[in-house]
Amino acid sequence: MRRTLTERILHGNTGEYVDAHVDRAYVHDGTGVLTLASFREMGVPIGIDPSRISVLFDHICPANNGITADLQRELRQYASSTGVFFSDCGGGICHQIMSEGVILPGEVVVGADSHSCTGGAFGAFATGVGATDMAAIWASGETWFRVPETIGITLEGSLSGGAEAKDLALSIVSRLGMEGATYAALEYTGPGSEAIDMDGRLCICNMGVETGAKNAIFYADAVCREYLAGYGHAIDIQTPEDCSYRQELTIDLDDLVPLVTVPHRVDSARPVADLQGTEVDQVLLGTCTNGRYSDLWRFAGIVRGSKVKVRTIIVPASASVLLRATQDGIIADLIAAGCMVVTPGCGPCLGIHSGVLGEGEVCLSTANRNFKNRMGVGGSIYLASPATAAATALTGYITEPEVFHV
């Protein structure tokens, strides 16, 4: 019988409940504290090879106050004493570090964070759970899943003009709606998908959860193989079978234009042209959606040699991204253009530090969520691509990237 990629990886048919062996289990400083508390309360030993567990600090890094510092210290001490993989403050966002040669095609990857669907870019089943579910994975190395129905998304053509992978991600969330894929898998195929680089695929899979999806997945192809070869991995290509989908969607990438998602719903994308002129107080480039090297590269290509007109915060997704962008001179260009560069991690996305919004303030952000008050009480968030963010930073109002000859 022909199966979706998710069915193949979970070894089950749609609708069945399975106990899945978890290949990679990871937490961050936010959820890890609760995971450790639940795990200790369970009173059971670690039932999984510690090398399959990762603890990656990213949410409030470095700590913003003594309470955060104390919570982080407890988890840091535990991680250091158990032989799990540990990345301290400054290392970067958990999803990005897992994407730097850790997650491999065909794996079952579970993170204690909703954006753990990011890793599906590698042809892995990657999904998010809560802290106590993760504690049970520490205890057993397994967790249960209902094998999801799959929504097939066929991509045709190629991105052109100012449109980027982020615009595709925003478009898909709006087409499906905030609950359009609840409990389902999003599976990307078609010639257009092969034309999207790994950073773009990570961005698209990252936003899968905004439709309610359990996971989002691309097939591991030559692009994926080349990316992972850079980390010393030799992988087998995954080939789609002629399987049945619950719903099918075809998107011609040539038709895509730069989009901006307006407050406070993540399924409200409109062409940037419709919002042109909307004033902003702050621009954010970063997060697990768009803090990767290629995002910084595109942003710097637009602001290089000019000065930003509003406060502009750059949060590289990981130390590796920051290092590469430093060595290539991108960081110098960004600073010369008047941007702030802060510690790799989640930055102000969740409204705790490094750029929290004040009452009535507006941020154009490359993140994945624009929920009410998320970045600060009374603040409003517009979501867009790195190119649109760069153009907006230069003018101080929402601006199409094409204005700057992108």
């Binding site: 609760l34 998010g128 809560g130 802290a131 106590t132 049970a136 205890a139 249960w144 309610g212 969520r369």
Partner: protein
């Protein structure tokens, strides 16, 4: 069997609205209970003791924060009913021992009395008995144990 007083809420209530990110850096459950729904309606928190929330679609979307169902349970919410829950919230609620029931309700108002029979898989509201989608056997076991920590404690 549990009883409660209905509080009706809208659709797409995300976990940031249940408990804001600025209150997450603690392990003190009382803090979460005190600030639950603060950005949705600050008047809600004191009314949650003994309440059954009847929400619109997609309740609990967004962040995986387990503090969201913990805050609701700690504030005294007896159960939540929605036609469709976001999946991580749904798992988290069961894992912390908070009943979540998937069901369509034709109409209800704040203050209505509701009686839930978890074993029978139904609840009674305004003279009508509604079925809810049965939980999987595993989820029932976890809920009956009072949550996933207790479920595992039993295996220790």
């Amino acid at each position: 069997m549990c009883k409660g007083t209905v509080i009706c809420l809208g659709s797409d209530i995300d976990t940031d609205l249940v408990i804001a990110g600025r209150y997450l850096r603690t392990k003190d459950r009382a803090v979460w209970a005190a600030h639950v729904f603060e950005d949705l309606d600050p008047a809600l928190a004191p009314r949650l003791s003994g309440a059954v929330i009847v929400a619109g679609r997609n309740f609990g979307c967004g962040s995986s924060r387990e503090q969201a169902p913990i805050a609701l349970k700690e504030a005294g919410v007896a159960a939540i009913i929605s036609p469709l829950f976001a999946r991580i919230f749904f798992r988290n609620a069961i894992n912390v021992g908070l009943p979540v029931l998937e069901a369509d309700i034709s109409s209800c108002s704040d203050g209505d009395e509701i009686r839930i029979d978890l074993e029978a898989g139904s609840f009674e509201l305004g003279g009508t008995t509604y079925p809810f989608t049965p939980l999987s056997p595993r989820m029932r076991e976890i809920l009956n144990a009072g949550g996933l920590v207790n479920y595992w404690r039993g295996k220790a």
